[in-house]
């Protein structure tokens, strides 16, 4: 009896220890997490006292001094490049370790190692099968081949690992404690993975599966009519009429058999509008100071910790300030004493699918060039927390990985006889780091042009301005040499004529320097007019943002910081300007109820701005979305055959110019609908849905309330994201801010004897939700203001406020 009691007295405490030390479901180990000595309370940073620190890192060559300004932005002063990038790695890890770790795990398809869920496993499989690790490995070879980028990446890795070494459980970043795992050492491959992930975000969207289905359903004529090769309205990046002064390479012949063949069930994510950006540069002739002004705001899926990390890098031969990506050395968007640069995405078609004919179900051989060729196999081992590894075999043809596999453990694969191989630029060996290495140190236009030659993917519109009063823009990347429309549909993988045929020479990428109009700009629209001899893509982002930017800049003279800043938050909608005069007269007021009539008067009086308080913007947005749905959905949504709608540009063209098009009729009803019917239905639908949500028209109908912009946490942890922000902007306006997608960094640089930088991002320097620097810039960003960037000349520069210092020595 007493023995039993004694045993119980031991078992109970041990079970308690076990129970509260174990992660159950998605909940962290309860007492391990609540323990104030090592758990989450330790991540509460002191808001009121900052201390200076010193650390010794073995690998450093000389003393490094890091100055943190009042927004916690580090300014690194090193004596050589090695120490500079080592220190960049160290401070970035200090603020953003978990973010860097998680993003690269995600990219590498390793989320299942820390999070157990079906979506995590699916995501891991997808990442592996798309060849993310394969691409990163190739890319790393390219980076390691150049001694400069090799030094950069190794020193950066060294710095991150030096920081990880200083950590014990009590000071692990918070998310490690919540998800209950440990930081692992950084490797150069992770830098490559991070850059690949940027390619995946910006250049992995693909419509060719949808397009192929559309071609099969509607035939070539209608497909060409509804999905034209050049937009109806356009205002291209390289001004219309710019001459191409190069001798062009011969364009590969379009194969005669160019009709899309049957296809397997390949699906990549659809291109999402909003992943886009704006940049522009004004020459001194259009500014008050007489020197150029450059502006950039890259739009991405917003998250906390912030996507970007501000930093200043100072060493002999370099003094540059801007934003970096946590996980990659150097500065991506920024400025130095003499030049400034920025980027927006180019929607070039650098991802194609090939229909593969396998000999048999072993997939060891495929038909190509009139013979059987061997595939190669790559085993992807997905480690899963708390259970056994999942092994995935991916077959590679000469084009790339066959994304969709026929493996017994994928039920879906059984019904699919053939897979498609993916040819993607991001699988190629490349060295993007060198572009930034040279831009960071660039002094003039020639340095800019040289830097661009190193760049592969994701293709970007590189805007440039220098103190010498040069401005330029170049849609730049490594572009495959294609016949027209190659890759608009799924390609035949058996015929060499469908392969990529070499590359457009970097020097022949579209570019313009000092155009007569006095400015350059881009907003992801078509790179050129139709005179450019090479094929880049058949569809780019809609032209509205670009058009508005160009209209504003054309009208602008004696531009100042404020005029540019206000432009970045411009909410004027060109779409509304184009559509409202066409659809408003079609509304029949007699058929509207009281609320709808009132809504109509709001829209009639609307200034066409998506400002936060505009009620008309909410009505218009839902109205036009619904209108597109009414026009296209009956034909383009077919169960089991994924397709997409024709573009917004084509829809607008049809509404303006083809009042009798057959597409207005709803094929699912017996009567014949007209455009006017649809306009009325969609308007009533818009008003009714708003009324259902918010009651009769009141201030809850305002655009910001309907839109609910916010910045969520990277892993969507509740409480760690931002509150709902009362801000305007929409996808088709310069201020392209939708629910969670928008300007991830706003920057304006005034060049001159001493450059003046201004910038802000929706978040803060620190990745720690327990730091006041986690989201301290959010309100400034939401209000459309910018901070003055503190471009220091020496560690003792008194022009800004310093809150702490960190000295690194060996």
């Amino acid at each position: 009896m007493n023995k039993l009691k004694a045993i119980f007295c031991i078992i109970i405490p041990i079970s308690l220890a076990f129970l509260f030390n174990t992660k159950i479901g998605s909940a962290p180990p309860v007492l391990k997490f609540l323990n104030p000595f090592m758990g989450f309370w330790q991540n509460a940073e002191n808001n009121h006292f900052m201390f200076n620190h010193k650390v010794k890192i073995k690998g450093t060559i000389d003393q490094v001094e890091i100055v943190f300004d009042d927004k916690m932005i580090p300014h690194i002063f090193a004596q050589n490049d090695h120490d500079l990038y080592l220190a960049q790695g160290y401070v970035t890890a200090m603020h953003r370790l978990w973010q860097m770790d998680f993003q690269t795990r995600f990219a590498a398809g390793r989320i299942s190692e820390v999070v157990v869920s079906e979506p995590a496993r699916e995501s891991d499989r997808y990442q592996r099968r798309m060849g993310m690790v394969y691409g990163a490995e190739n890319s790393l070879k390219g980076m390691m081949a150049d001694p400069k980028s090799k030094e950069m990446i190794l020193a950066y890795t060294e710095g991150i690992n030096a920081y990880i070494k200083t950590l014990s459980h009590s000071n692990y970043p918070l998310e490690y404690k919540i998800l209950d795992f440990k930081p692992e050492n950084w490797t150069p491959l992770k830098c490559a993975l991070l850059l690949k992930q940027m390619s995946a975000i910006l250049a992995m969207g693909s419509d060719e599966f949808y397009m192929t289905n559309i071609l099969k359903k509607f035939g070539p004529e209608i497909t060409k009519n509804l999905f034209p090769d050049y937009p109806f309205k356009e205002d291209p990046i390289i001004p219309v009429g710019t001459k191409w002064n190069f001798t062009q390479l011969p364009i590969p012949k379009t194969p005669e058999s160019f009709t899309a063949s049957q296809t397997g069930d390949v699906r990549t994510k659809e291109k999402v509008e909003g992943i886009g950006s704006n940049n522009w540069a004004l020459s001194g002739s259009k500014t008050a100071s007489g020197y150029p002004i450059l502006a950039n705001d890259p739009h991405l899926e917003l998250s906390l910790p912030s996507i970007w990390y501000q930093i200043q890098l100072h060493a002999p031969g370099i003094n540059t300030y801007g934003v970096s990506l946590p996980g990659a050395p150097g500065i991506i968007i920024g400025f130095n004493q003499r030049i400034a640069w920025g980027v927006t995405n180019v929607a070039a078609d650098v991802l194609d699918f090939y229909q593969i004919k396998f000999k048999d179900s072993s997939h060891n051989e495929y038909w190509y060039n009139n013979k059987w060729n061997k595939t190669t196999k790559r085993l992807e081992v997905i480690k899963i927390r708390g259970s056994k590894d999942l092994i995935d075999t991916v077959y590679y043809t000469h084009q790339g990985p066959v994304v969709y596999l026929q493996k017994s453990n994928f039920a879906k694969a059984n019904s699919v006889p053939v897979g498609d191989a993916l040819r993607w630029i991001a699988h190629d060996r490349s060295n993007e780091l060198m572009t930034f290495y040279y831009l960071n140190r660039g002094k003039n236009y020639n340095d800019y042009r040289k830097a661009l030659t190193y760049y592969t993917a994701p293709a970007q519109n590189f805007v440039f301005a220098s103190v010498d009063n040069d401005i330029a823009i170049t849609p730049n990347g490594k572009f495959p040499l294609k016949w027209k429309n190659q890759g608009k549909f799924i390609l035949d993988g058996t015929d060499p004529a469908y392969d990529w045929h070499g590359w457009i020479p970097a020097s022949q990428n579209p570019t313009v320097k000092n155009p007569p109009r006095g400015f350059v700009s881009s907003a992801n629209q078509s790179s050129t007019d139709q005179s450019y001899p090479y094929y880049l893509n058949w569809e780019f982002s809609p032209y509205e943002r670009g058009k508005r930017i160009n209209d504003r800049l054309t009208a602008m003279n004696k531009a100042t910081l404020d005029s540019i800043r206000l432009m970045q938050t411009d909410n004027y909608s060109i779409l509304a300007e184009n559509l409202i005069p066409a659809v408003l007269p079609l509304l029949n007021p007699e058929k509207l109820n009281a609320t709808q009539k009132e809504a109509l008067s709001y829209v009639t009086k609307w200034n066409k701005r998506y400002d936060a308080d505009e009620i008309a913007a909410s009505i218009f947005e839902i109205w036009t979305k619904r209108l597109a749905f009414d026009i296209w959905d009956d034909e383009f949504t077919v169960k089991g055959v994924p397709m997409r709608y024709p573009s917004r540009d084509r829809t607008v063209e049809m509404i303006l110019k083809e009042p009798a098009a057959k597409w207005y009729d709803n094929v699912n009803t017996s009567q014949k609908e007209t455009l006017s019917d649809l306009v009325n239905e969609s308007f009533r639908y818009s008003c009714d849905s708003l009324e259902r949500r918010f009651g009769p028209i009141n201030k809850d109908w305002r655009w910001s309330n309907v839109k609910q912009s916010n910045v969520p946490h990277l892993a969507k942890i509740p409480g760690f994201g931002s509150k709902v922000l009362q801000v305007g902007g929409a996808k088709s306006t310069i201020n392209a801010l939708s629910e969670t997608n928008g300007p991830s960094w706003r920057m304006v640089i005034e060049l001159g004897k001493n450059p003046k930088g201004h910038g802000v991002y929706p978040g803060g320097q620190s990745g720690n939700p327990g730091s006041k620097f986690y989201d301290n810039m959010l309100d400034t960003w939401a209000s459309g203001h910018l901070y003055d960037l503190f471009y220091m000349q020496t560690p003792d520069d008194q022009s800004g406020k310093v809150i702490s210092r960190l000295k690194i020595s060996k």
């Binding site: 007493n2 009691k5 109970i12 030390n21 609540l34 509460a44 002191n46 009121h48 942890i717 409480g719």
Partner: protein
């Protein structure tokens, strides 16, 4: 006495040891110097409850409870001080139960010895 001993030993040990030393310390202390079951439970409970609340406040107050408020939303208790109470009560309960078990363990062993002697 039990209260003071647990507070001091746990405070020092927790600087380096994982959280579950509170179980070991409460068990051992009460197993050695616990006078009654009631004392073993309540002294252990209050020792750890107050130690954890105190130390949490030491970290959280200079942070203006910014982090605690966010984590409170994450865990669903909504208010930062509710999270603080959960921290204190849960850890206190675990320590209290462990202390009580420690005391009872000694009683069982003593009883066993007496039983052995009689036998």
């Amino acid at each position: 006495m039990v209260f003071i001993v647990i507070v001091i030993i746990c405070f020092l040990l927790q600087m380096i040891a994982p959280w579950w030393v509170i179980i070991v310390v409460a068990f051992a202390t009460c197993g050695i110097i616990g006078k009654t079951g009631k004392i073993a439970f309540w002294h252990s409970f209050f020792a750890i409850c107050l130690l954890w609340i105190g130390y949490s406040l030491f970290k959280s107050l200079p942070n203006d409870n910014l982090l605690a408020s966010r984590v409170a939303v994450m865990t669903g208790v909504k208010l930062w001080w509710a999270l603080l109470l959960v921290t204190g009560i849960l850890s206190g309960l675990v320590a209290g139960i462990s202390g009580y078990c420690g005391y009872q363990f000694r009683m069982a062993m003593l009883a066993k010895k007496t039983d052995d002697k009689i036998a």
